[in-house]
Every structure is written in C-alpha cells, then in structure tokens.
C-alpha cells in the first residue's frame, strides 16, 4: 500500500474544511422555533421531531462533483454541551474552555422551573456545582457520549426501524405519553428517509450536470445507494459506509454535542466488504479509498471526539483479526487528522504484521491508536452490570470510555471531580484560594488542631467523598431536564430498548443506563499528601496553617520549601511503595463509594480515571499545591504521574499504575507515555516496545497511549528540563533520559536532521 493519496481522495482531503455553511445554525434554529410555534400544545418530543423534520426537509443538500459519498457534516471547531440550538439563548460562538458550551446557569434555571419541590440541601448542591465548575472543582459535559445504533440502520434500514415502532404502537393503541413518543420517532424516521432521498436526487442532478465520465459514474453510484438506504438496509460495502455517514450527519444535527462515536466499524463493515470481494465488485484499493473518504467526512467536525474502535474479539469472545483493521490504521496514518479518534482493542495474539501497522501509526506521533486490553475492559463492563456477550461488543466513546455498541448510554462525562481542588478547599476552610468563593465542607477543622498525618489523611478522604456526593446530588437533579426539554428521538430509535420502552436514550431507554463519575489530579494529590506527611508531620519544617500561607502566596519567597516538596519526597510513578499504596487506596475508595450505586434511570454508577483536557483547565483554576506545583499550572494527566515526576523509567510507571485493579474503572482510564520518534528506529527497540505493552496488560492494565515527540519538544525540554524528566532519547549505542545529558550532547541530538514522511 502506498502512502500517496489517490487524486480523488487528495481533492476531498484539500476540501475537508470547506464545508462550513454559515447559514446552517441559524436556519436550524429558525426551523425548530417555527415548528415549536406551530405546535404549542404538542409534547416536547413531538415538537423536536417536527423541528427535525422541517429542518431536514428544507436545509441545503448539495453534492460536489468530486464526492465519493453524499453527506455533509457541518464543519465545526467546537462541540456544544447540549442541544442549545433549539434554545433562544444558543449562540455557537459563545463557548467556554475552547470546546463546549457549559451553560450550567441555564441548566439550573431549567431545573428550578421544573422542580418546585427541592429542599434546601438540594438547592445548595446545585449552587455548589455551579460554583464548583467556575472554580475548577467540578466539570460536567452532558449530551452526546454514546455509540449510536449504526448497525441497526445498516442492517434493517429505516423501514425496519419504522416497522419496529409501528409494532409497538399497534400493541398499545390507547393515546398515551408512550404513543406520543412513538409518533415522534415515526416522524424523525420519515424525516431521515426523505432527507436521504433528497441526497439521491441531488446526486442524480449533479451527475447530469457533470461532464467528467468518472465523476458521473460516481455520482450515479451515490444516487443508487441513497435510494436504497433511504428505505432498506445496505446491500454493499459502499452502501453501508454511505448509511453510516448520513446517519452520523443526522445524529450531529439532532444534537451538536461531542463524542457521538461510531463503535466497532471494522467489525460492522467487514461482512459487506467480504461479500463484495466474493462477488468481485470491489478491490482492496477501492475499499481503502472509501474508508479514507469516510475519515475525511468525520474530520470536518474538529474536536468532535468521534471515536472509531477497531480490533478485538468476535461475538463469542474469540480473538480473530479483521481485514478492515489494517485499512483503517492506514487511513489514519495517511490522513493524520484529529478525527476520528482511533482506538484499538488489543490482544496479545495479534499477528506481527498487524502489530507493525499499529506501531507505524503510533510512531508517526499523532497519539493513535490508543490501546485497550480486551480482557480488562470486558471484565470491567461485566462489573458494571453488562452481560458477557454484550461486553464482548464494547466500543469506545469519546476519549476512552468503553461502552456497548447500540445498547448503552452511560453519560460518560456526567461529572468530574478535581481531587487537588478538594485539598485546596479543606486547607483553606472551604474557601477557594483564588476566588475566595466558599464551599460546603462536611467538617470544619482548624489547621493547627490536626495532630497527625493520619488525622489529616482521614479528613481529606472524608471530604473527597462528600464532594462526590454533593456533585452526584446536583447532577441527578439536572439530568432529567434534558430528557424533558431536549429529547433525541432519532438517536433513540436506533438504540436497543428505546422503542420497546418508548423512552429516550437519556431518560433510561437503552439496555444499559449507566452514570459515570470521573476523577482528575489524582497524582498531584498523592504527591501532595506525601509532602504534607514529611514536611509537616515528620520533619516539622512548617505547620499546616503556615503551609496554607505558602500556598496562597504561590511559593513566592518560599522556593526552598517548594524545592523540598519537589525533590525530597516520594512521588507516584516511581515504584515508590508508599505513593503507590496511597493511590491504590484512594482509587479503591472512590470506586467503592460510587460503583454499583443506583442512578435515577435504573442503572448504576461507574468510575472513570481520565481527564480529557480538564487537567489543564481545572489546573488554571487551582492554587499552588503542597507537591510544589505552582498556581495555574496543569494538573497531572489522568492516571499518569505528575509531569516530570516519574524519574525511574516506563517500567516503574507501569508498576505504579498497575498497583490496583483497573477492572474497577468501568468508564475507562488513561496512562500516557512519551517516547521520541528515534526510539522506534531501532529494530530491537520496536520489539522491546511490544514487550512493554504486553507486560502492562499482563499486570492488569486497561489502556495505554503514546506520545512520540520531536525537535520542538526537545528544545522546550532543554529550556525547562524539570517538566521533561522522563523523555527518553537515543544517544548513540544506548538510550538515556534527555535531561540527564550534558548540553553539548543535547545540542547534538537536537541538530540531527529530521526525516519526515511526505503525504
């Protein structure tokens, strides 16, 4: 396979971001509002369905002459937190933190107007959540975060879905809320059918207008495919991909939230590909181009967290290699977009040929694919209450959240808690050190009344759990407002369970209705607690209330203490027994506290140990920490050690992180390791790298991902070595940590020529 793009793919590639239709958001809003106005007495789900129908009936449908597939995902640089497009206050340019529109004030307003029965504690939990998000204590990102029922659409078609709905309707002929929901579903299915037919017509028109015979042929192919899949399931590989694209487009129209993920595309599409190969109607090269064209479509929603899962076991839990896995790895390598996020379900018996493709993508430096250990993830899903056969069919949502394709809605970004902020708050009598905002503590203690580290540690643990409980109380109040105000009947009718229950995806309609509590800054807290233990209680270099002043002053004038904290105390990630055991204890504690707890949708809570980019955003709002971190600096990334604090190499990091079982993280976890690109130039290192991965998974690891870095990073490392202590470089006959080398050698390595692959 060549790294060169075919002329048609090259054209598509160059036009990836040229599909922004400035009028689309306003048009959608207008159509929805008009539909709401026309039908003021209708149920909300019916109003939404009418808005969806009207917009899909009237929006622009165009196909460029050079297209391989119909469909146009509106180019977007940001994902919103809820379908605000249906709300008067929605303004796509008004988003916070670069990614999402965390309009919590509106959420709370909705909740308070829906619920007049709230008690004082509930109201104050809502206030804490709002303040907590502003101060970096909490983070929440409702909506999206699901693997849609692509399989149902591909296999049964919209006709099949319609029949499922009608069957339920005829079984319950009495006019009820149930029926209303089914009518809304019928309306959106009708909208989808007609929308796809509009694409068929547009493709035909474009074919007529085209003077290029090859383009004409393509366009007619699209027209045929759309005609078929507007009603039926897909009959070919091409039609299956076309159906995925158009369904995905409609899902992102229905809710512009992030992380609408595609699931196990290689397993979904393989039967179509093999059948086409057998019939002799497709070549490998054509299949590659189709996957590349699909990737380009997905790439237009930047930062969309649209995850595609590849690899893994079959429906009986038996590992076998899928012929499309390799093609999808290659597509990501050739195109190098941030979308789709590519996740690989790893199995130790993966052939060396396929592993080589995986490795080539890893060493190309984009961070794809991240690797999931099938066995650990499957066990974790079973512990979250998923049946073993459904667990075999997990895909990845958004970042790293394992979720059963077409059967699960886990609100994977329901709530995240910044452990470091909890430490800041308890040390400052509940007050944010940056804003002065006051938070509820379970128990107030005077700093100097604490007589032992044990007492301090117990107090921290108890306040951490209390903070989790406040957050859960608030989110349980807020979430029902979504179903009530922003139901998603189109997504829902593709998912198992929702038609039968006549219930929305976000209201408990799916088979597995989980809730997820995630955590951030774990390593900062472990390192900080060890510093407090040593500095305050063992060596008595300072007392707790003076340490609070040092932190409020951001270590300015106290650089000696900051350096003591950074250099003289145990750190997580070095195989240091005390740090590892403390992390294990805290992780187990939060898991035991929430895992298995019933949520309001009839499912259970699960735990995630990953931080998306929140470790940076929450870090901006977190004051200096006892571990020596300055105010505003990024917090530790997910379960990884504090940046630069892992000084004993990757095997020590892996040992530290596998000190506790990852099965308890049903919503996923992240371990990030950094390598230089030249590491992979040596054939022995490539072998060693796989041993490292295998051993991590043997020790019970769930997920691992790699950064492969180049020159710019090395220069930055030279300027700020303390942040790059774990950067491995190849010197000559040996590898060493870059920052341990003397400057002349560093310069020499920096100045070596970089060879880049040209796409």
């Amino acid at each position: 396979m060549t790294a060169v793009l075919s002329p048609q793919i090259k054209t598509l590639f160059e036009n990836t971001y040229k599909n922004y239709d400035e009028s689309a958001p306003a048009h959608q809003k207008m159509e929805y509002e008009r539909a709401f106005g026309k039908n003021p007495s209708q149920s909300r789900c019916m109003q939404i369905a009418e808005g969806f129908y009207a917009y899909l009936s009237n929006k622009n449908v165009s196909i460029q002459e050079y297209e391989l597939f119909a469909g146009k995902l509106q180019h977007n640089d940001v994902s919103a937190s809820m379908p605000h497009r249906t709300d008067k206050t929605f303004d796509p340019s008004n988003y916070q933190d670069g990614v999402y529109d965390a309009n919590l004030e509106l959420e709370i307003k909705n909740c308070l107007s829906d619920r007049t029965d709230l008690n004082q504690q509930q109201i104050s939990s809502l206030r804490s959540l709002l303040k907590g998000i502003q101060c970096g204590l909490y983070k929440r990102w409702p909506g999206g975060h699901i693997i849609g029922g692509y399989e149902r659409v591909i296999k049964e078609g919209y006709q099949g879905i319609e029949e499922r709905i009608r069957k339920e309707l005829s079984a319950n002929p009495v006019q009820t809320i149930r029926q209303e929901y089914h009518h809304a579903m019928l309306r959106v299915v009708d909208a989808a059918k007609k929308y796809i037919s509009r694409y068929a017509a547009a493709a035909k028109a474009a074919a007529l207008a085209s003077k290029n015979p090859a383009c004409k042929k393509n366009l007619l192919h699209i027209a045929d495919a759309c005609e078929r899949i507007s009603v039926n399931g897909a009959g070919s590989f091409f039609e299956a991909i076309q159906a995925v694209i158009l369904m995905h487009e409609m899902l992102t129209i229905e809710q512009p939230c992030g992380s609408i993920s595609l699931g196990r595309l290689d397993w979904l599409l393989e039967p179509f590909y093999l059948a086409d190969l057998k019939k002799g109607v497709i070549t490998i090269e054509e299949a590659e181009e189709m996957i590349e064209a699909l990737w380009i479509k997905l790439a237009s929603i930047r930062q969309g967290y649209q995850n595609v899962t590849i690899g893994g076991c079959d429906e009986n839990g038996v590992y076998r290699e899928n012929v499309l896995t390799r093609i999808m790895l290659m597509a990501s390598k050739k195109l190098r977009f941030d979308q789709p996020s590519l996740s690989l379900r790893y199995n130790k018996s993966m052939s060396s040929q396929l592993w080589e493709e995986v490795l080539q993508l890893i060493e190309s430096g984009g961070g794809f694919p991240n690797l999931f250990h099938d066995e650990t993830v499957i066990n974790s899903k079973v512990l979250s209450g998923v049946s073993i056969y459904d667990a075999y069919n997990y895909g990845i949502v958004g970042c790293v959240e394992p979720s059963v394709c077409q059967k699960e809605c886990a609100n994977t970004e329901e709530l995240r808690i910044n452990w470091a902020k909890v430490l800041e708050l308890i040390m400052n009598d509940g007050k944010c050190m940056i804003t002065g905002e006051t938070f509820l503590l379970k128990e107030h203690k005077s700093m100097n009344s604490i007589s032992s580290f044990k007492e301090f540690y117990q107090w921290y643990k108890s306040e951490l759990l209390y903070t989790i409980d406040i957050g859960i109380m608030a989110t349980e109040l807020l979430d029902p407002a979504y179903v009530k105000r922003y139901p998603v009947p189109f997504l829902s009718c593709t998912m198992d369970g929702c038609i039968e229950k006549a219930c929305d995806v976000y209201g408990g309609g799916t088979i597995y209705n989980l809730s997820s509590i995630n955590h951030a800054a774990m390593a900062n807290v472990v390192d900080s607690l060890l510093v407090i233990k040593e500095m305050v209680f063992e060596l008595r270099l300072i007392n707790l209330s003076d340490l609070r002043e040092v932190l409020i002053n951001n270590f300015i004038g106290y650089e000696d203490l900051q350096n003591f904290a950074k250099n003289k105390c145990g750190k997580f990630g070095n195989g240091c027994d005390e740090a590892d055991k403390m992390m294990a204890e805290l992780a187990q504690m939060v898991c035991e506290h929430v895992n298995g707890r019933l949520n309001y949708r009839g499912g259970v809570y699960q735990t995630g140990m990953y931080s998306v980019h929140d470790h940076a955003i929450m870090g901006l709002r977190t004051a200096a920490l006892p571990d020596g971190r300055r105010s505003g600096a990024a917090l530790s990334n997910s379960l990884s050690p504090v940046q630069g604090n892992d000084r004993s190499g990757p095997t020590a990091v892996i040992r530290s992180v596998t000190e506790f079982p990852h099965e308890m993280f049903g919503n996923g976890m992240v371990l990030d390791l950094k390598f230089t690109p030249s590491f992979f130039k040596n054939i022995y290192h490539r072998k060693v790298f796989r041993t490292l991965v295998n051993t991590y998974f043997d020790l019970g690891g769930m997920e691992i991902q790699f950064n492969v870095i180049d020159r710019e990073t090395l220069i930055a490392a030279q300027a700020k070595p303390e942040q790059y202590r774990n950067l491995l470089v190849r010197v000559s006959g040996f590898s060493a940590y870059f920052v341990d080398l003397y400057k002349a050698l560093q310069d020499e390595i920096i100045n070596r020529t970089e060879h880049r692959d040209v796409v």
Binding site: E559, D560, L561, N563, F564, N567, K568, G575, S648, G649, P650, T651, A652, I654, R655, Y684, H685, K687, V688, T691, L692, N694, T695, D698, L699, G733, F734, S735
Partner: protein, 246 residues
C-alpha cells in the same frame, strides 16, 4: 590486581537503571558498578570510574543558599565570591550536605549494597524480563567484584533471570571464570586491537583482554563483541581488519 578490599561482601553501585534496552536483549535492569581498571578517553560513564561513593555537584542548579555549608563538618563546602564551591578533597562523604540540599544540586553517586539488598532491587521489574530480557551487570567493571557478582548471579538464576555481563575484559582469568558458568551472555569490549594504541587510549595494555577473549571463546556462553568507534581515535579500517582476524 584485585584488591582484597573489593572482595568483601558489599559493593558500591553507581545506579540501578531500569528499562535498559541497549545492554543486551529485551527489557533489562542494568547495575552500574563503581570502579574500573581502564581510563578510556571517551568514557561515557565517568562517574563509574572511581570505586568509592562520590558526591556530584550540579552547579547550574545551585542557588547558593548555603544550606550545605552549615551542615558540613569538614569545610568541603564554602563560598568564594558569593558562589558555592565544593572542595572534594576535604570531603568526608558524611552526606549531610546531600540531605540538606533541597534543590538536588548535590547528589550522591554510588551506594553500598549487599548481595541481598541489590538482589531485592532487581526483582521489581521481573514481569518485564519475559520475552528475552533480564539483568545486566555493567559499570565501571562489574568483575572487579567477581565474588559478589557470582553470588548475585546465583540468586538471580534461581529466579530464571537472564544474566548479561558487560565487561572490559581487563580482569584476571580466574576471576572471570567464576561467573562464566552462570552468565547467559557476555558483552565483551575490544576497544582497540593495537596494543600500543590501546594503552595510549585506555592507559592499559590489551594483552590480558585479548588472551581472555581467546579463552572465553572456548566456553559455551554466547559473546557479543563490541567495539566503541571513536572518531579519529580507533575508527580506521586497518584496525578493524586486524580485529576481524582474531
């Protein structure tokens, strides 16, 4: 050549490095012993040359806070023109200064280990040694501590750990023989085939090294011959051809 001093139960180790991937096959943990009979001009681990425990002063990190001066009983640390100066000759290696330096500008190089304490340091990465990895004894020159090494190796072999010895070869044959029946791999350096040039580059003649190499080749243990190529010093083709004929 081998002093009785070095035969005793403890050894000085510069460092234990995990995820060593260029000192033999697979993922390895490498032990860098302190002390070396050679003085190669290009030595890439100069902190391993001296056999004793040492203190490294990293000047760029020092903030001249004076914490070391106040705890030093031997006047090894002082200020000259407002700058901290470390006078190694005065040092008694009590290590008070290392503990007092919160900036890590003063670091210990070398730690004294018994066979048992070193052995326990080598076990944590055991799971990573599968697929061909193991432990490499390097330095400095590990075989200066050949009795210590043979005891250590016996213990490691009881755990089925693969052992590589990285040696310069400038060691009495009887001592080298002690470890040969346990080692799985010898990484053997021939730094220069020409005796006179070898002496000029490393301060020692190469006769013992070449004799040992010939004896070593009769043993069933695999040997990786390694030649450090130093531009302008030993990298000429004639020397390489001569090396190839041994």
């Amino acid at each position: 050549m081998l002093s009785n001093d070095l035969m005793k139960e403890k050894s000085n180790i510069a460092r234990v490095q995990r995820f060593s991937i260029d000192d033999g096959p697979g993922i390895r943990t490498t032990v860098f012993f302190k002390g070396c009979p050679l003085r190669c001009r290009w030595c890439h681990n100069p902190e391993c040359i001296g056999p004793g425990i040492d203190i490294q002063f990293r000047k760029p990190i020092c903030v001249n806070c004076g914490a070391c001066v106040s705890v030093c009983p031997a006047n090894a640390h002082c200020f000259q023109d407002g700058k901290h100066v470390y006078q190694r000759d005065n040092c008694q290696f009590c290590l008070n200064c290392v503990k007092a330096c919160w900036y890590n500008a003063l670091e210990i190089c070398g730690e004294s280990y018994t066979v048992d304490s070193l052995f326990s340091q080598l076990l944590p990465d055991l799971p990573f040694f599968r697929s061909g990895g193991g432990v490499t004894l390097s330095g400095g020159e590990p075989l200066l501590y050949c009795k210590f090494c043979s005891e250590l190796i016996k213990k490691l072999k009881s755990m089925q750990i693969h052992i590589a010895i990285d040696t310069c070869g400038h060691i009495a044959w009887e001592n080298m023989k002690l470890i040969l029946e346990y080692a799985d791999l010898i990484l053997y350096d021939i730094k220069c085939i020409d005796g006179a040039l070898h002496k000029a580059l490393t301060t020692q003649d190469n006769q013992l090294i070449l004799d040992n190499f010939n004896k070593l080749c009769k043993y069933p243990v695999p040997v990786w011959l390694r030649i450090p190529l130093i531009a302008g010093l030993n990298d000429n083709i004639e020397l390489m051809i001569r090396t190839a004929t041994i």
